[in-house]
């Protein structure tokens, strides 16, 4: 199981700009839910609150009002039921790829042979078994993010939370990682909530897309593309892909928050 619900979640930040206090309503009564095994994308213009929503779900930032639940249990701080994939992978630079994956597992209390074997298994899942002894600076951007995904998946969370996971990668690497994420999803059936600013990515990967604007849920759109979407180059050519992409593009374009 892995069901995530946002119920009237609000989050306000106070910023000090040139000595003046500014209140930013990052999230304003945000409600939506992610079903078990579903992939949901959060999309919207920058500053719309999509990353904040993810951080609240992870427990890195507390909500001012409302609640996020995972399988009915309210989120208070971080937990092993959620695995986070960070925007720039954020691997620990002094650890090898394998040790980075092991770090998350050790925090869950795993030790000994099981620890190594599990890390190995997930590095194999992301295709990095041969590079397990390399340190992050010896890995390419795409490989780093693969390790980041392995690290989050290894603790076997109910939900995978991803913050613009492929945003910093070049187009080709991004495409291969998108395909790989879909393959991993097909195998593990994990619930995935991910933030992106890339409309194509949202449509290619997600079952549903939550379009956000100025801290509110603007609209929730079903993606009518069937799974498995094995070959993304074929998916891109489908008329349904173009239709839904255009529909959401219009939405983003017409949203009052976009200048």
């Amino acid at each position: 199981m892995g069901e995530v619900s946002f119920v009237d979640v609000s989050k306000r930040f106070t910023l000090r700009v040139d000595g003046e206090l500014h209140h930013v309503q990052a999230l304003d009564r945000v409600s939506f839910s992610v079903r078990d095994g579903e992939i949901v994308a959060l999309i919207g213009p920058s500053g719309c609150g999509k990353t904040t929503a993810l951080r609240v779900a992870m427990g890195l930032d507390p909500a001012n009002a409302g609640r996020v639940t995972v399988d009915g249990r309210e989120v208070h701080g971080c937990g092993h039921d959620r695995g986070m994939v960070f925007q720039h992978a954020e691997l620990l630079p002094w650890l090898s790829a394998q040790q980075n994956v092991m770090f998350g597992l050790e925090m869950k209390g795993m030790r000994g042979i099981e620890l190594r074997a599990t890390a190995q298994k997930y590095l194999e899942l992301v295709g990095l078994a041969d590079s397990k002894n390399r340190r992050p600076h010896q890995l390419s951007g795409g490989m780093k993010q693969r390790v980041g995904i392995a690290r989050a998946l290894a603790i076997d969370p109910k939900v995978l939370l991803m913050d613009e996971p492929f945003g910093a990668l070049d187009a080709q690497t991004r495409e291969s990682l998108q395909a790989e994420l879909l393959e991993i999803h097909a195998r593990t059936k994990k619930t995935i909530l991910f933030v992106t600013h890339d409309l194509d990515e949202a449509v290619l990967i997600a079952d549903r897309i939550v379009v956000m604007d100025r801290g509110r849920v603007h609209e929730i759109v079903d993606v009518p593309l069937t799974r498995p979407r094995a070959d993304l180059s074929i998916v891109r050519g489908l008329p349904e892909f173009a239709d839904i992409r255009y529909k959401i593009w219009r939405m983003l374009h017409d949203a009052p928050g976009v200048h």
Binding site: G83, W94, H137
Partner: protein, 277 residues
């Protein structure tokens, strides 16, 4: 035909590479050249100065040999190094945890940060009489002086290092539910290591100065005693011997710390690209 041209270009490339490498003077050679030049200049100009007011390398070398042969140098060095290493070692052992805690916890920073900042600027020489009242004239007070002088740079550097740790790395720990002490030991500490090592390096110089101060103002002993006694006898060449030995020792320790740093934190040099030079 194509093959031959290719090989020719390759050969040309290689000889060009060789030439480049030949033109590159090794760094140690630059250092040696610099030292030799300095010593030569000192030797030439030093001869023209009254031996009370100054000295020159060959005279210092003779004085060095005599101090060494009489056994005076060996025992003085041994006497000096004990409080030096105990005080410096204790400063490392205490300074790193204090810096980590002050950097990590806002309350600790608010409560103790000012003492560390103030302590760095503390005129320690002025406090030596008080330290003597507390700890006597012997070994303990010398350790205390070395400790107090070298503690603060280590503390401050560690503290600044912790503050500079990217927030996202800490969040990685948090998101995997790492408890505070694990975040401190497994994320903050390794991320701060380059700063800590810089502090440990800066502290070497201060510890050497502290050691001599302690030997001047408490029981006159060790290398400090050699300096004072020869200065009182207007034997400037002999006075320079311990001074130069201390400076050489500081260079050696710095090199050793660099070696330790590359051993315990090899990723740092690799990231900075320094390992290829």
């Amino acid at each position: 035909m194509v093959d031959i041209t290719d090989k020719q270009t390759e050969a040309a490339d290689e000889s060009e590479m060789d030439a480049l490498e030949r033109r590159q003077i090794p760094r140690w050679a630059v250092t040696v050249f610099s030292v030799v030049c300095l010593l030569l200049l000192w030797e030439i100009f030093g001869h023209n100065i009254n031996p009370v007011f100054g000295s020159y390398p060959s005279a210092i070398a003779v004085a060095f040999w005599e101090l060494l042969r009489s056994g005076q140098l060996g025992s003085a060095l041994f006497e000096s190094l004990q409080p030096f290493f105990v005080g410096y070692g204790l400063a490392i052992l205490a300074g790193i945890p204090i810096g980590l805690i002050i950097g990590r916890f806002r309350t600790a920073e608010a409560a103790f940060g000012i003492y560390i900042t103030a302590g760095y600027a503390m005129p320690l020489v002025a406090l030596v009489p008080l330290l003597i009242l507390w700890l006597g004239l012997g070994f303990k007070v010398k350790v205390a002086v070395v400790f107090l002088m070298s503690l603060f740079p280590i503390c401050i550097n560690t503290w600044l290092g912790v503050v500079a740790v990217p927030k996202t790395l800490v969040e990685v720990g948090k998101s995997f539910v790492a408890p505070d002490h694990v975040i401190l030991r497994r994320i903050i500490l390794p991320a701060t290591l380059p700063y800590i090592m810089a502090g440990v390096r800066l502290a070497v110089g201060r510890a050497v100065v502290a050691m001599v101060i302690a030997e001047f103002f408490t029981t006159i002993s060790g290398l400090g005693a050699v300096i004072i006694n020869s200065a009182n006898n207007f034997d400037t060449a002999t006075m320079f011997v311990p001074i130069i030995i201390l400076m050489v020792m500081a260079i050696g320790l710095n090199w050793l710390i660099g070696f330790v740093e590359r051993t315990v934190a090899p990723w740092q040099a690799e990231i900075a690209g320094r390992d290829r030079e």
